[in-house]
Structure formats: C-alpha cells, structure tokens
C-alpha cells in the first residue's frame, strides 16, 4: 500500500512522540532512582554514624570502668590514665549520640534515661576512686559490691547495643534497597532502550519505504513525461502528414479536373468555330424569310448558341480560377521546406517595411517587440505568412483610423514561438472567425478584391511549420492574428523521417 505524504508525516510524528515519551520515561526514572539512591546512601551514612557514636560511647564507658577497676585493685595511678582520658571524652561522645538520635522523637525517653544512667555511673566511678585515694579501698570496694554501678552499666550497654543493632539493621536495609533500585534502573533503561530502538527502526523502515516509493513515483512521472513528449511529437508529425496528404490529394484532384476542363474549353471553341459555316449557310436565306425553320435556325445561330457558349466559357474560366487557386496552395504544400536559422527581428522588420508606405500614408505606425531565441524554420513560408497577414491589415483597414500594427513575439515554455500581429482594422465578426481560414471564404462586405485563398494558404503554411494560426477580433478594435510555429523545423523533419 503506498504511503501518502500526509500518512508519512503522521506516522513519523507518532514515532517521534513515542520515542520522546520513552526517552522522558528513562530520564525521569533514572533521576528518580538516583534521588532515591542518594536518600538511601544518606540513610546508610546516618545509620553508620549513629552506630559509630553508640560504639564510641560504650567503649569510652567501658574504658572508664576498666580504669577504675584496675586502680581499685592495684592502687597504681597508671590505671587512672585511661580513666581520665575516657572521662574527658564521654561528654562529647554522649552529645554525638544525642545529636544523631535527635531526629527520632521516640528515642527521647531512652536518651534521657541514658544521660541519667551515665551521670550515675560516672558519679559512682568518681566516688570509688576518691575513696581509694583517701586509702579507704574497702569502702570503695563495698560500693562496687553493691552492684548498683554494674546494673547501671548493664542498662547503658543494653541501650547502646539496641542503638547499634538498629543502626546495623538500617544499613542492611539501605544496601538491599540500593540494590533493588539499581536493578530497577537497569530494567527501565533496558525497556527504554528497546522502545527507542524499535522506534528508530520503525522510523528508518518508514523513511526507506517512503523514499523508495518517492523514487518509484518520480520514475513513473519521468516515464509518463517522456511518453507524453513522444506522443506530442508523434501527433505533430501525424498532423503534418495528414496535412501533406490533403495537399497531395488536392494536387491530384486539381490536375485531374484540369483535363476535362481543357476539353470543355477546347470543344466550346470548336463549337464557336463551327458556328461560322452555319451562319454562312443561314445568311444564304433572305433575312425576311417566313420559313419557320430558317427563322429558328437564325435565332439559334445568332443568339442562342453564342449565349450558351458565352456562359460555358465564363463558367469554365471561373472554375479554372478556382482550380488554379487550389493548385497554388497545394504546390506550396508540396514545396520542400528548408530549415535555416532565422533572425526573427530582421524578418519581421523587412515584412513590415513592405507595407510601410501605406502605413505612413494613413498617418499610422507599426511597433515591433520580439524575443530573439534561435529559430530554425523555412524562411519563405514565414515571410509569406507575415506578408499575407500584414497585407490583410492594410487591405481591411478601418477607413476612419490611421493604421496601427503591433507585432509582438514570445517563446512559450514548451519552446513554441508565438507571434501576434494586432491591427486596428475593421475586424471580423465572431461567426466568421473560423470561416476566414477556409478556402474561397471571405468575411464581410466584399468591397476589397480577393480570391479568398490568402488566409487558407497562411494556415496551411503555419501548419507546415509545425504550428497553427488563430485570431481574436473585435469589430471596434481590430483583429489580432496569433501565429505559432515550432522553434526548430529540423526536429520535426527528423521525427518525420
């Protein structure tokens, strides 16, 4: 099924939109997934920080407790070093834990408990160490033996362990989710890529198919064009052949008509001559003879026969004139046309110059405006065409107007040369526009002498030159004859050959 250009535009637009949607989907999903990854990452970082803070605090507390125990056992000041260091860092560590847990209001209670426990523990540690320094190690050990400190420490430891566990869990969840997001991204990218590949593939196929169809259509148009040109050339040749055929026919007919005409005229003369002896015989009878035979014979010999012979003669003469006119035209048609390069401007100027005198006499003027494409045609035929038309413009001028003649030329897009000759003469009535080109037909008042063969002749010549002649006329403004001729008669001659 051929693709219409509208269908092609619609389908390509749809493909582009589908591709765009896929692309937007991929990009949107990717951005969303990256955002989410970022979120997960931050959550993991935060969880790790929480966990780290809890671990640090627990370690510090354990360090402090170990230092206290070691001192109480040995009373060696060296054991108080880690204790001192831990005590100094615990506040900061606690604040970190408090800070990382601040966003979780549900932990507020536990954090407050943690603070109390830490304070209690630190107080117990400081108290025992102070007692030991004063030498009252037993009292310090008693305090330790109450297990209150240990219990507090156990609560602290379990609280911090919970925080650490929760942190671990959150890290694990974050990693799992991260992996899921990566998988989702991969799947979305894959689907999007498939869609885009499908769209591009479809578009490429469509473009290829459309281009191929365009090529095929162009080829078809070219072939049609060539065929058309060939057909036009063929028809032109056919027309010219038909034209020639008619002229040959006319030529033969006129010749064959001439032969009997010679007889009619010849024997009419013989009859005429034969009247002399008859007249002589009739004259032998007296003029006032009453014999009806003599009267009738005299009537016949002196009036009837000469009258009949006269009519036969005038009719044959007229017929001879007509035959000669046809012969003239057919002879023109049989003339071998000789294509030569013609300077149209010069040819028209010389044709106009031939009637210049009459134009000047009437006070009018002639204007020539012609293109100068190279034309190859028969000079004589073209001269006769123009001469005939210009002669008509003079012969059938309007009595009240100075003669104005415009000769314009142009070349049509198909190469034909069009020459229009406009006069301001008396014009031709509409019903006679075709008639004037017919043999022996004339238009209007026959006050101007003519045989009625000029335009018939012109039309035959124009057709012989691969063209034609038409006219436009308005009795008020005059007549325009439009002569078209083929620009190159040699081409037509080649086609004919």
């Amino acid at each position: 099924m051929p693709i219409s250009s509208k269908g092609f535009a619609r389908t390509s637009l749809a493909l582009i939109i589908v591709g765009l949607i896929a692309l937007v989907g991929i990009v949107g999903t990717a951005i969303w997934l990256v955002e989410r990854t970022q979120g997960h990452f931050e959550a993991v970082v935060e969880a790790r920080e929480t966990r780290q803070a809890a671990v640090d605090l627990r370690n510090l507390l354990q360090d402090a407790q170990s230092g206290q125990r070691g001192y109480l056992l040995t009373l060696d000041e060296a054991y108080l070093e880690p204790y001192g260091a831990a005590i100094g860092a615990i506040d900061a560590a606690y604040e970190r834990v408090e800070g990382v847990l601040a966003p979780y209001p549900q932990t507020e209670q536990s954090v407050r408990g943690l603070r109390a426990d830490i304070d209690a523990k630190l107080t117990e540690l400081a108290e025992t160490i102070a007692l030991a320094r004063q030498g009252n190690v037993a009292a310090a050990i008693d305090i330790v033996r109450t297990d209150a400190g240990e219990t507090t420490m156990g609560r602290i430891r379990s609280m911090l362990d919970t925080v650490i566990d929760v942190g671990d869990m959150r890290i694990y969840d974050g990693v799992v989710e991260q992996r899921g997001a990566a998988t989702a991204l991969r799947v979305v990218a894959l689907i999007g890529a498939l869609v885009i590949i499908a769209v591009i593939g479809g578009a490429v196929l469509l473009v290829l198919r459309y281009t191929r169809e365009l090529d095929m259509a162009t080829d078809a148009v070219e072939i049609l064009n060539r065929d058309l040109e060939d057909r036009v050339a063929e028809r032109t040749v056919d027309l010219m052949r038909a034209n020639e055929e008619v002229q040959r026919f006319a030529y033969i007919v006129t010749h064959d008509l001439r032969a009997p005409l010679v007889n009619i005229m010849g024997f009419t003369s013989e009859l005429d001559a034969a009247l002399d002896p008859v007249n002589a015989l009739v004259d032998q009878y007296p003029e006032d003879s009453d014999d009806p035979i003599v009267v009738a014979a005299r009537q016949t010999a002196t009036e009837d026969l000469p009258e009949a012979i006269g009519f036969i003669r005038s009719s044959t003469r007229k017929m001879d004139g007509l035959i000669n006119a046809i012969l003239k035209i057919s002879r023109e048609g049989r003339r071998e046309l000789k294509a030569e390069r013609i300077d149209l401007q010069a040819l028209v100027e010389s044709a106009v110059a031939a009637v210049h005198h009459q134009i000047d006499e009437s006070g009018g003027e002639a204007r020539i405006d012609l293109p100068a494409p190279p034309i190859f045609t028969d000079r004589l035929a073209l001269e006769q065409i123009l001469g005939n038309i210009l002669d008509n413009a003079i012969k059938y001028r309007h009595p009240d107007r100075p003669i104005h003649i415009d000769v314009d030329g142009r070349q049509e897009s198909n190469g034909r040369i069009v020459i229009s000759i406009r006069d301001n003469g008396r014009g031709i009535p509409g019903e006679d526009h075709d008639r004037v080109f017919e043999l022996f037909r004339r238009s209007g008042n026959p006050d101007v002498p003519g045989e009625g063969i000029g335009l018939a002749h012109v039309r035959i010549m124009a057709r012989n030159l691969g063209g034609d002649i038409t006219l436009q006329s308005n009795p008020d403004h005059g007549t325009t004859f439009i002569v078209t001729i083929a620009p190159d008669l040699r081409v037509i001659a080649r086609h004919k050959a």
Partner: protein, 148 residues
C-alpha cells in the same frame, strides 16, 4: 515533309480522347499532314513501339516522334519515356511530353530521362491551340533521325 521518302509518324499517347482529338485538329491546322497514330493506353503504345517480344526491333528504321501524356490509366508516361530512352532502337526518337502536370520535379525528371521537349497544356483553349500549332510548325522543320 513530302519530299522525305520515309515520312515521320507521330505516335500520340493520350488517354483523354478529347485532348487527343483537339491535339490532332490543331496539328492539322498547322499544316502537318504526317500520319498520327493515337494510343489511349500506355500498354498499346508500348506494344507498338517495342513489339510483342518487347525487344524494340519492330521500331528499327522507323521515323517516329512521340507525343506523351504523363497521366495514363495503366502505366505512367515517365515509365514509357524511360523505356523509350533505354532501348537502343528507340533512344534517338524525339519525345515531346505534353501534359497538365507542371510540377518542377516532374519536369526535371523528364528532362533527366531524356525527354526532348516538355510542354504544359494550358487550360485556356486559345493558349492550348496555339501551343499545339506551334508544335506542329516545329514538327515541320525538325529533323527526326531514323531509328537504329
């Protein structure tokens, strides 16, 4: 002509009997009394000129003058002219082409083939009669060779 022991015979090939009659009348009016043998078809004339065998020996030692119309019903005058001028027995026989055809090419062709005179029949009778009479006068003075 009367003094010539072998008077010239005029062969007239003309399919139109009216024309043939008018030509004969006018030749006689010019005072030519030679025998005129009319043929209305090309084949009749060819048989007379070249015999049944077509060799042309029958024309040997004849004194002939041919008046030829080009438009004939069975063959063309040009074909007859060609044969006459190609045959060794008739090639010196003068041929006068008398026809209605006034086509340049036809005239040239006839002269090329060896026609001695080409005359177009004028349509007006006076011109026609005059031309024939002139032709008759021309016949009375022209020398016709004996055919070989």
């Amino acid at each position: 002509m009367a003094i010539d022991p072998r008077p010239v015979t005029i062969i007239m090939v003309e399919d139109d009997e009216g024309h043939a009659r008018l030509i004969e009348k006018n030749i006689r009016r010019a005072g030519v009394n030679n025998e005129i043998i009319p043929f209305t078809s090309g084949n009749g004339a060819l048989t007379y000129l070249f015999g049944e065998d077509g060799s042309g020996e029958v024309s040997a030692h004849r004194h002939l003058l041919i008046l030829l119309d080009l438009n004939l019903p069975d063959t063309t005058g040009v074909a007859i002219l060609e044969k006459v001028k190609a045959n060794q027995h008739t090639k010196r026989t003068p041929v006068v082409v008398l026809t209605t055809t006034d086509d340049e090419r036809e005239i040239q062709r006839c002269y090329d083939l060896g026609a001695n005179v080409y005359i177009t029949k004028p349509v007006d009778y006076d011109g026609f009669a005059n031309a024939i009479r002139q032709l008759g006068l021309f016949f009375s003075v022209m020398q016709v060779p004996e055919t070989a």
